[in-house]
Amino acid sequence: MSTPNGVMAGAPAVAARRRPSSTLWPTLRAIYIIWYRDVLRFWRDRTRLLATFAQPLLYLIIFGTGLSSALSGSAFGGAGAPAGFSYTQFIFPGIIGMSVLFSSIFAAMSIVWDREFGFLKEVLVAPIDRSAVAIGKALGGATQAMFQGLILLLLAPVVGVKLTLMSVLTVVPLVFVLAFALSAMGVAIASRMRSMQGFQVVMNFLMMPIFFLSGALFPLGGLPGWMTFLTRIDPAAYGMDPIRRVLLDGAGLPPAVLDRMGLTIGGTILPIIGEAGILLAFGVVVLGIAVRNFRVRD
């Protein structure tokens, strides 16, 4: 759409024909530019890129190797697991999920940063619908988190997880859905936060529980009832499980073993598409909350 009113620079604006205050197109443009700014900043900040690569690496190599050795006698994965299957391979998809989780929340928290240091005002007084701020930020966070998760696929050969073209192509949209849902959740939280002080609280009472209960580090079957319940209301669990299934299936793990590790509800194994659907629905709902929060004016 070209601007029908043209430019009226210098002309008295009294009679300027204004385009309608709310149309879809300006909102899409605004979503794009807010997303673009986030991606630009992310790309420019190489130290952060490096730093977020370090943590998953520690988990995989030190934590993974350590637990693999400790569990070697107890036959992790139970009877039927192939001889070469180790704990490190089990947590590899989980660590991708962890990286996505942490990056999403951090990216969303940049809203609080922007609020404290002014840039958010530039966005909030702009003649754009506030929904663009929430959506643009959620997509910006999702893009960053997806990148940080997928880059870990480079470590697959090191850990001994064989990648196939099919498993990689399937895992990309799954990682995106997880990244989007968690970013949207982060934006919804950040939309209510007025200072960085609340960040520590979010870290300890939200991010870590979500991480531990997501099935990133241990299978979600055979847990005590209260914990089974908590894991099933953890949105990240619905992203971890399909990513693990796709990657380990591609690596040649028998379906029977995969099923035993998988996420079940009332004893039923959810299909991958169903899990992704639940996650996507969660993302849309929390994004709706974020949009509403941003539209509130005091």
């Binding site: 601007t3 043209g6 204004r18 443009r29 900043r41 940063w113 002014g118 007084v125 003649p127």
Partner: protein, 335 residues
């Protein structure tokens, strides 16, 4: 408030009030700002200046009253208002990790500046504030004055009808402040934009075409700097005596009005300062230790209207805090 006056006013405010719980930040303000003028909102910290600006630029809802900006009602069509105004906030609202150029590009895109014109407008805006050679520098590396200039360039990039500036020179050194004012006073002539700004610096208010003095959420007086000064009537005499309390009564008789005690001195307005001083020295029983008279300043106007001065010390301490905040921010954005 006649309809004729309202129709050619760029900003029109009637009975505007804003309460934050029990706190009445703004209590019934009426204003008319004319096209192309530099309108100053002068008052101490906490007088309600920023709250008023935030209502006018649709960041806050008014509790009562009505306001239009560029003929658009701020409550009914906030997006319409936003597209017609530019803003420079008290604290910088630039993205420190982007370059000057990228900050302006973001703004041009969000405000829907036609793509064909974007590059040219950004270039001329940067040139206006003498930042052309720093276009590709990351804003984090800029000084406070440079950031302010960049924000002014950004504020007019989308050719708004009104440019709002909230304390545009706060925390800057006097030389940089003069520099910023050099750019600001050019804007109405060059771009036909109306400027609405707040300040608590008396000397800055002198640059304005008209000033509203605000205190405790209410407007005390509106007029040109000269009109306001003529309210003081004659010369301002500042007297120090061996015993101010005792001298106050005698001075009141001599001057025909009660002196205002301010910071260890007595201030009084007289029609003719040169004739008053000899009489004062001759006819006061308490020893006069010093006496000075001068033409009235806006400071005196404020003192007369509110019974106290806008203290520079008060401003100074908040400025210091603000600068600490900015120093911290500079580090923070670097991450």
């Amino acid at each position: 408030m006649t309809t004729a006056a309202s129709s050619d006013a760029v900003i029109s405010v009637q009975g505007l009030a804003k309460h934050f719980g029990p706190v009445e930040a703004v209590r019934g303000i009426d204003l008319e700002v004319r096209p192309g003028e530099i309108f100053g909102f002068l008052g101490p910290n906490g007088a309600g200046k920023t709250t008023t600006i935030n209502i006018l630029c649709t960041l806050l809802h008014a509790t009562a009253g009505r306001a239009t900006v560029a003929g658009i009602d701020v409550e009914h069509d906030p997006a319409g208002v936003r597209s017609r105004i530019g803003l420079v906030f008290q604290d910088p609202s630039l993205d420190g990790q982007l370059t000057a150029q990228e900050n302006l590009e973001f703004h041009a895109f969000v405000y829907d500046v036609p793509a064909a014109e974007r590059a040219a407008r950004i270039a001329s805006a940067l040139e206006m504030v003498d930042l052309t050679d720093r276009a590709k520098s990351v804003v984090m590396t800029f000084s406070g004055g440079m950031k302010r200039r960049l924000e002014i360039a950004r504020g007019i990039l989308h050719t708004p009808d009104v440019l709002f500036l909230d304390e545009p020179t706060i925390g800057l050194d006097p030389q940089t402040r003069r520099h910023i004012w050099g750019y600001l006073s050019e804007l109405p002539k060059r771009h036909g934009v109306t400027i609405f700004m707040t300040t608590h610096y008396m000397d800055e208010a002198e640059y304005c075409d008209r000033i509203a003095i605000i205190d405790h959420g209410q407007i005390q007086a509106v007029g040109t700097p000269d009109e306001l000064k003529s309210m003081v009537g004659g010369d301002v005499v500042t007297i120090t005596t061996a015993d101010n309390a005792a001298a106050a009564g005698e001075i009141a008789v001599l001057a025909g009005s009660d002196p205002i005690a301010d910071n260890g001195t007595l201030r009084v307005e007289v029609a003719d300062g040169a004739a008053f001083v000899p009489r004062l020295v001759r006819e006061t029983s308490v020893e006069v230790t010093s006496v000075a008279f001068r033409r009235p300043s806006l400071d005196d106007v404020f003192l007369k209207l509110t019974g106290r001065a806008i203290r520079e010390e008060e401003a100074g301490s908040t400025d210091a805090l603000r600068m600490m905040g900015r120093a911290w921010m500079g580090r923070g954005q670097g991450r």
